[in-house]
Each structure stands twice: as structure tokens, then as C-alpha cells.
């Protein structure tokens, strides 16, 4: 009798002993978990029982399964070491769990979570092995996909972080270079303005003609006004605007002190006004001319008071410079300084008024708001 016949005989015996009337046998037969039983007493441990779930999982017919050793489920990719571990456990009559790659009849594979345990007979010897299987392909695939996804995510995150770090570094370098260039440029402009001031001062010292010297001094004052405005411009970072009120205060104090006029009092009524940096120099020159005029003409030979107002106006801001000095003869309007004021006011689209007063002199300059003063070609 061949092993195959012996297996079939044992299968028939089991079938007979444990018919469908036996609830245990019925349960084993009907459970959704694939189950097989092998017989150790027959050569090569053939399968003598396989339930419907096992048949379904393997793709083989019951007839093809009965009488064969379980190794027909193995294939080229099955882990040999794991198979050897299972064989050793069986040889030692021990139970074993393992997860191996198995092959169906059609060649497709599945991950099989095996649990194999010995079945003892009445005499205490091992007669059979009971093997339950579980197709964990989907679970493994899901786990692998999750691992792959996590790895891909970690990789993407690392790449993104590296890119962000690179870009940040590049931007920082670019910003740093730009800032340095701006500082260098600012430094040079200030130094050159200083140089121009020093040059005019040096030359005016060598001039003996009082009229020429006065002209040189007037020019020096104008250059200084531009220098002062530039100094206050870039001391605030951003540099897009300049503080008109602070400038008016500084230039007026400097002019009065520089003239040594302790008898001239300054009165300020300045609201906080900023102007676009592009308008800084013209505004500075206008303020300089008006204050200088008050000090050197209006209050030339008498003590007095210069009032400086900077107030919001419906069309922008109104700058008013007045003194309680001698007033001005109409022909004094032809002076270069006053011509300068009219010229620069036109550039700023500002309106200059010299309202008549009972005493002293008033000049009011209405500066348009930022939206209007930018308009070119007016």
C-alpha cells in the first residue's frame, strides 16, 4: 500500500469516525479558518484532513491535497530558514508559529500565518499534527504600505526641510548683502555730503569779500540742510519716509544757535508728519530758507520770536513760519532764497502764501498729501 493510499484510508477513517453529526468535526469543517491535519505515522507526514477554507485558500481540490506533504504550498520565494525552523519543531513534536510565503495552485502567493501543534493519541504518543493557517497578505501589505508611506513621508519631509533651509540661507545671504550694500552706500553718501560741507567751509574762510562770504555761508546752510535731512532719513530702518516735525525742530535750533542768536526764541506747534523720502530734500530746503530768512532778515537787528507750525490741512499739511520782526519790503521778494522756495514748492505741488500781517512776517506752505505729491509733470 502506498503512502497515498494510507492517507486516503486514514482520511476515510476520520470521516467515518467524525461524521457531520459530530459538532466538533462540523465546526472544524465549516470554520472560515483554513485547517489541515497531517498524520505522523504515515511516511512523509501527509495531509489526511483539509477543511473547506483550506481548499479555498490553496486553490487545490481536496483530492489533490489529501496524501501530500504540506511542502507543496512552498515556492521559490518561501523563506528556507523559516521552513527549516518549522520542520525542526515538528521533528521535536513541539508546536510552532510562523509566517511564510505560500503558493496557490494558480501560482499566486499569500502570506500564511501558521500555527502547528501536535495531537496526542491515547497512549500519549504524537499521532497527528494540527495546522491552522491565516492569510495575512492584506494585513502585511497594509503594514508594508504604511511603512513605505511613512518612509516616503519622512523622506519628503527631510527633502522639504533641506530645501527650506537652503532657500532661507540663500535669502539670508542675499538680504545680508543687500543690507551691507545699503549701509555702504549710505556711509558714502554721508561722507560725501560731509566732504562738500567741509569744502565750502574751507573756501569761505579764505574769502575776504563779505558779500561773497555771505553767499558761501548761505550755500553751506543749504547743503547742511540736505545733509541734516539725509542723516535723519537712514537712521530709521525702512528709510521710505522722513520725519518732517523732527527735522523742522532740528534745523530751526541749529540755525538759531549757529547764528549765536540767544535773543531769538523758538516756538513749535508741530504735529507728527512724515513725508516720502523723495520729497525730503525739497522740504528741507524750503524749511531752511524760511527759518534762515526769519533769523537773518526779519530779526536781523532785534530780539524776537520765530513760530513754526506744522498742522493737518484739508489738502495735506500746512507748514507755517512766522516771526515778529520787521516784516519784509515787497522788493525783498526777489532774493535767491525766496526764489528757491517758489521753485521747490512748484516741484512739490505745494502752495506758498505770504498773508499780510500787522507786524512781522508769515509764510504758509501747504504741502499736498502723499498721494498728490507723488504726481509728476504737474
Amino acid at each position: 500500500m502506498t503512502e497515498r493510499d494510507a492517507s486516503r484510508q486514514e482520511a476515510a477513517r476520520l470521516e467515518l469516525d467524525r461524521g457531520s453529526a459530530d459538532p466538533y468535526a462540523a465546526a472544524i469543517q465549516a470554520t472560515r479558518m483554513p485547517i489541515a491535519i497531517t498524520d505522523v505515522r504515515i511516511e512523509d507526514h501527509p495531509i489526511v484532513f483539509a477543511n473547506d477554507a483550506f481548499i479555498q485558500l490553496s486553490g487545490y481540490s481536496r483530492d489533490e491535497v489529501i496524501g501530500r506533504n504540506c511542502r507543496f504550498l512552498q515556492g521559490p520565494e518561501t523563506d528556507r530558514a523559516e521552513v527549516a525552523r518549522i520542520a525542526a519543531a515538528i521533528a521535536a513534536h513541539e508546536s510552532v508559529t510562523a509566517e511564510i510565503l505560500n503558493y496557490r495552485k494558480d501560482g499566486s502567493t499569500f502570506w500564511n500565518a501558521l500555527y502547528i501543534s501536535p495531537v496526542f493519541d491515547a497512549a500519549g504518543g504524537v499521532s497527528h499534527f494540527f495546522g491552522s493557517q491565516l492569510d495575512v497578505t492584506a494585513r502585511n501589505r497594509a503594514a508594508q504600505e504604511l511603512r513605505d508611506a511613512n518612509a516616503a513621508l519622512a523622506c519628503a519631509k527631510e527633502t522639504a526641510e533641506a530645501q527650506v533651509a537652503d532657500r532661507t540661507r540663500e535669502l539670508e545671504i542675499a538680504l545680508d548683502q543687500k543690507t551691507q550694500l545699503l549701509h555702504e552706500l549710505d556711509h558714502r553718501v554721508k561722507n560725501n555730503l560731509q566732504l562738500i560741507s567741509s569744502l565750502i567751509q574751507l573756501q569761505s574762510r579764505r574769502i575776504s569779500d563779505p558779500a561773497v562770504q555771505a553767499t558761501m555761508k548761505a550755500m553751506l546752510g543749504r547743503v547742511s540742510a540736505i545733509a541734516t535731512v539725509h542723516r535723519s532719513l537712514l537712521q530709521v530702518d525702512g528709510a521710505a519716509a522722513f520725519d518732517v516735525a523732527a527735522f523742522v525742530r532740528a534745523i530751526a535750533a541749529d540755525l538759531v544757535e549757529a547764528a549765536g542768536r540767544e535773543d531769538v526764541e523758538l516756538a513749535f506747534d508741530l504735529s507728527p508728519v512724515t513725508a516720502p523720502a523723495a520729497n525730503a530734500a525739497p522740504i528741507a530746503l524750503i524749511v531752511h530758507e524760511l527759518v534762515d530768512n526769519a533769523v537773518r532778515h526779519g530779526l536781523a537787528r532785534r530780539p524776537g520770536r520765530i513760530s513754526l507750525g506744522l498742522l493737518p490741512h484739508e489738502q495735506g499739511h500746512r507748514l507755517e513760519v512766522s516771526d515778529d520782526g520787521v516784516g519784509m519790503a515787497p522788493d525783498a521778494r526777489s532774493g535767491f532764497g525766496l526764489g528757491l522756495v517758489d521753485l521747490l514748492a512748484r516741484q512739490l505741488a505745494a502752495r506758498v502764501e505770504r498773508p499780510a500781517t500787522e507786524a512781522g512776517h508769515v509764510v504758509a506752505v501747504t504741502l499736498p498729501g502723499p498721494d498728490r505729491s507723488h504726481r509728476k509733470g504737474d
Partner: protein, 149 residues
């Protein structure tokens, strides 16, 4: 009082020399780089060093200030590069920012010279002069002592 001018722009240095002389002070030298400044400080022992930050040999003014202060001189920076100064002004009494007006420089020099001579001042410094925090404190404290007596 003896003044050393350290400035690499010769026209600016010449003009500062006039301002110093007109204030009745003695100019003991004009130097344009760190080495010349250090030698002049050792040789002349000036009371005040008027010091540009950016000199002929680079931004060495701050370094020169350290040596001048160690040598017992008072240092006043004149600079278009205020950002280069450390928070303690490297021991200098203060700084005048370029471009200054002629009056601004005169007023700053006068204030510093009077404060050194008197140990302080009751007036507030001119707007052209930014005092180093330590010196502002010292000169204010001294003048407060004076008024208390």
C-alpha cells in the same frame, strides 16, 4: 586742552582743525590711519581724540579708541557709520554723526571739552552729540552733586 584729529579725509580734517583752533584749543596732530594715530597718542598724550571710525587702513577707529582711552585720552567719534560703534562706544564719550553742520560740530566739541574740564555739565548735550551711556551717567551724576552742594 590738546586735541588730536584722526580723520582720513584731508578736507574734513582741515575743516575740523579750523573748528578746534577757533574754539581756542591746540591741535597736536592730524592722523589718517590706526598706526599713525597710536603713535601720536603715545607721543603727544592728547586730552581729546576726535576720531573717525573708517580710516585710511579700514574700519580701525574703534580699535584706536581702545588704545586712546587706555592712554588716558577722552575720545569723541565723528562718523558716518554710527552702526559700527559698539554699545559702550568702545570707551569713547560719545559720537557726532556725519554729515554734521558746522554749528553741530562746534557745539558738540564745546560741550565735551567743558564737561571734561568741569567733570560734568548742567546743560543738556546739543542734538548733534550722542553721549555714550556711561559718560552721560557720569557727567549727569557729577553735575547733580555740584547742585546739591
Amino acid at each position: 586742552m590738546r586735541i588730536l584729529i584722526v580723520e582720513d579725509e584731508s578736507l574734513v580734517a582741515a575743516e575740523v582743525e579750523f573748528i578746534v583752533a577757533e574754539a581756542g584749543l591746540e591741535v597736536v596732530g592730524i592722523e589718517s590711519d590706526a598706526a599713525g594715530a597710536a603713535a601720536a597718542i603715545a607721543r603727544e598724550r592728547p586730552d581729546v581724540v576726535l576720531l573717525d571710525v573708517h580710516l585710511a587702513d579700514g574700519p580701525t577707529g574703534v580699535e584706536v579708541a581702545g588704545g586712546a582711552v587706555a592712554g588716558g585720552a577722552a575720545v569723541l567719534f565723528m562718523t558716518a557709520n554710527r552702526r559700527r560703534l559698539p554699545p559702550d562706544f568702545a570707551g569713547a564719550v560719545g559720537a557726532v554723526s556725519k554729515p554734521y553742520t558746522e554749528w553741530g560740530m562746534r557745539a558738540a566739541l564745546r560741550y565735551v571739552v567743558e564737561s571734561i574740564r568741569d567733570g560734568g555739565s548742567r546743560r543738556s548735550p546739543p542734538s548733534s552729540l550722542e553721549l555714550a551711556p556711561a559718560w552721560a551717567e557720569r557727567w549727569r551724576a557729577h553735575s547733580a552733586d555740584q547742585s546739591a552742594q
